[in-house]
């Protein structure tokens, strides 16, 4: 052994002693577990830094921004029609629903209103994208807690809805179909009938999910009582959409603040659940999917005839002003605050996305849960990365 000074030896001995002490006291220090940014449960690049004590979460902190694409800034250097292409890509599972509030806000600034036929078709496509979006959630929730099959069912049946959207708009995911003052095109022949049959299939899909997951005791054991959000907390964190309704708050912008779309023309109801846990969130979304298929069915039968485009100039200039408008998107309240200076494009756009607020409750709701519950809660809060980071 090489010569070591006394001091080194002392240091060595004392460090050994420290180790021994730790071992004696069995200090089970907290472990930091990074869930994400690359993790199957985050559908993208969300990172949740968890302090674990054993398998129990002490602190969980969502860290976002890995997928920030700067859409608010990009919108400032684009014209209004170009903006919708970007906006399509915010919540990529329910893209058409993203366009609508932006276009409606711009229409409000321009003081034009789309003709009724356009409004009805807008509403139909809106609800179709809701069905497509929520269908994927219904299956994906199964995968989050370990059931493989539901997600394949979801992909199978969602494809039918996407096909219907594609037949009208030309795009499965990025329709870019909404225009200031109306729509780009009318619906093709035979579409109404096909959509009716697809809606029947989607209801069968909902029944299957009910049998496969909701009625399943294991699913209930995993979801009931997990991640309970009381209504006051939900409201104070600004949750919206099904997450809020699952906490028992009867709040739906489609009914409460309808910006002129055709929801007030049909018969439907808002579903709420008193529990506020993961199961309630799943259940509410399941019912909402069913309800959306019903809305679509009713709307399809009553499309008024007429033009699909109001009189707007070919080159769109929005007069100076500000407008905020939000709608009830598949994920929750989605709003656009547009500041215009009378140019071809907006001066500033602020996008209020539902997922950003929904995910902000993570530190509150994840205190003290187990690691598997982290996944259940994340799954049931249902966020879309593009919607958080935009």
């Amino acid at each position: 052994m090489t010569a070591t000074s006394d001091r080194e030896q002392m240091a060595y001995i004392s460090s050994q002693a420290a180790d021994a002490r730790v071992n004696v006291e069995l200090d089970t220090g907290d472990m930091t577990l990074n869930i994400g940014p690359q993790h199957p449960a985050t559908h993208g690049t969300l990172r949740i830094a968890c302090q674990l004590d054993g398998e129990q979460v002490v602190v969980a902190e969502p860290i976002m921004g890995y997928m920030h694409r700067g859409y608010e800034k990009l919108c400032e250097v684009r014209t209004y029609p170009q903006c919708t292409t970007l906006i399509n890509r915010i919540d990529w599972l329910g893209s058409f629903a993203n366009e609508v509030p932006f276009i409606l806000a711009a229409e409000r600034l321009m003081e034009v209103e789309a003709p009724p036929r356009a409004q009805w078709i807008r509403t139909i496509l809106f609800e179709l994208s809701r069905v497509a979006n929520l269908a994927l959630f219904l299956g994906d929730m199964g995968v989050q807690i370990g059931a493989l099959t539901p997600v394949f069912f979801a992909f199978r049946d969602r494809e039918r809805v996407l096909n219907q959207i594609e037949e009208v708009t030309g795009g499965r995911f990025h329709p870019n179909f909404d225009r200031i003052g109306g729509l780009k095109d009318d619906i093709p022949k035979g579409w109404i009938e096909e959509t009716h049959s697809v809606m029947v299939k989607m209801r069968t899909f909902c029944d299957e999910m009910e049998d496969l997951l909701v009625g399943n005791e294991i699913f209930q054991a995993r979801c009931r009582g997990v991640g309970v959000i009381p209504p006051e907390v939900a409201l104070s964190y600004g949750l919206s959409g099904a997450n809020l309704r699952a906490s028992g708050v009867d709040w739906d912008l489609r009914r409460d603040a309808n910006p002129g779309l055709a929801w007030d023309q049909v018969d439907w109801r808002v579903w709420t659940h008193p529990d506020g846990d993961s199961f309630a969130r799943y259940w509410v979304r399941l019912q909402e999917t069913r309800e959306a298929t019903r809305i679509v069915d009713q709307l399809l039968d009553g499309i008024p005839s007429g033009p699909i485009m109001a009189k707007v100039p070919r080159i769109i200039k929005v007069p100076a002003g500000e407008a905020y408008l939000s709608t009830e998107n598949p994920l929750g309240e989605m709003g656009y605050y547009i500041v215009s200076k009378g140019d071809l494009g907006p001066f500033r756009v602020k996008i209020r996305t539902p997922s950003f607020n929904n995910i902000s409750i993570v530190p509150w709701v994840m205190k003290g849960v187990y690691v598997p519950d982290v996944i259940t809660i994340l799954g049931s809060l249902y966020f879309i990365l593009g919607d958080i980071d935009r």
């Binding site: 577990l33 807690i145 099959t149 394949f152 997951l213 294991i218 187990y370 690691v371 598997p372 519950d373």
Partner: protein, 342 residues
């Protein structure tokens, strides 16, 4: 018993061991192809692999070749020796299980008198391998997975053994061949036509055995240690290439072995109604019958796997200790009482 071939002991053993070694990849191939590829695909309205070979039968071989080409990566922090040994330990446990599985009156590598005991003991070696893998990977997910696996496998070992106890009491032997014989010569209310498969008298034990086996195999709903969507694969998260293939093979090889154990203990094993128990022809027909029964049981294992979500760790433990073990104990007591009364 008559011997099939008059060979020296070492030759016979050598041949049998070689066969058993060759059988593991084959069995996992059959299971993976039939259930993981095809049945799962059909249950999800898909076709599954169908381009490699007729109906995609060669898909798994193609995948094996793909795995062999992959680089063998060790994490920098890994405990190399343990990391390398872990998959071998797991596979060894599977291999040792195959030693006592009978497929005919003589078609067995080694007919141990304590066969059941041996099988249960050997099957729990895999816990060690999994724990080694989880610990040595120097990965938090792997560690969590390994620890969960250890907890779970130990918890479910108990109901597994207790369920088997009922069978052992009824058959009055620990020898797997003896259990088959006991079922073959048994009678149901004086009717001996189909023997007495213990699934009839030991249905509770069969259920407990199947549930516990599901947990031992870490199949959904008890796949907490693997849990793709939260632990991203659990203990084998860091494994690549050939070592991952070993884990994969062991998983399905063990599934096959447990299905075989279940069919030996509850479904009458290789015996065919109408034959003598030590009829030589059963050495030829027996494996076929066994295969049929094994596939039937494996079908249930995988059917459940593709349908259910997984339980949480604490629920899983609660289920083992509060439901399965008491039930298994009740079953043993009942079996004992009936044994004494009749």
């Amino acid at each position: 018993m008559t011997t099939l071939l008059a060979l020296p002991y070492w030759q016979e053993t050598g041949i049998k061991l070689g066969l058993a070694l060759a059988i593991i990849p084959t069995t996992s191939l059959i299971l993976v192809y039939l259930f993981l590829f095809k049945m799962m695909a059909f249950m999800q309205s898909r076709l599954g692999p169908n381009d490699t070979g007729p109906y995609g039968t060669l898909q798994l071989i193609a995948e094996a070749i793909k795995f062999l080409q992959k680089e063998d990566i060790h994490p920098a922090q890994a405990d190399r020796r343990v990391f390398r040994m872990a998959p071998v330990v797991v596979l060894a446990s599977t291999f040792l299980l195959y030693v006592v599985l009978p497929a005919g009156p003589d078609a067995v590598v080694q007919n141990l008198d304590t066969g059941v005991f041996y099988a249960m003991a050997v099957s729990s070696i895999s816990v060690l391998g999994i724990l080694m893998a989880g610990w040595s990977s120097a990965n938090k997910y792997a560690l969590l997975g390994g620890l969960r696996a250890a907890g779970q496998l130990i918890a479910y070992e108990l109901p597994l053994i207790l369920a088997v106890m009922g069978v052992v009491i009824q058959a009055e032997t620990l020898n797997l061949q003896g259990i088959v014989e006991a079922q073959a010569t048994g009678e149901i209310f004086g009717f001996g036509g189909i023997g007495n498969p213990f699934i009839l008298t030991q249905f509770l034990a069969f259920l407990i055995f199947m549930i516990a086996a599901q947990a031992e195999l870490t199949q959904t709903p008890f796949d907490m240690p693997v849990a793709e969507t939260e632990l991203v694969g659990g203990f084998h998260i860091e494994y690549t290439g050939f070592r991952f293939l070993l884990f994969f093979m062991a998983e399905f090889g063990t599934a096959f072995a447990f299905a075989a154990l279940a069919s030996v203990m509850f479904l009458g094993g290789w015996w065919i109604p109408g034959f003598d128990v030590d009829d030589n022809i059963l050495n030829v027909l027996g494996p076929g019958v066994m295969l049929g029964k094994i596939l039937l049981i494996a079908f249930f294992i995988f059917w459940v796997r593709f349908t259910y979500p997984r339980l949480r760790e604490d629920q899983l433990q609660k289920f083992a200790w509060k439901v399965l073990i008491p039930l298994a104990l009740v079953n043993i007591v009942l079996t004992g009482i009936f044994k004494v009364v009749f």
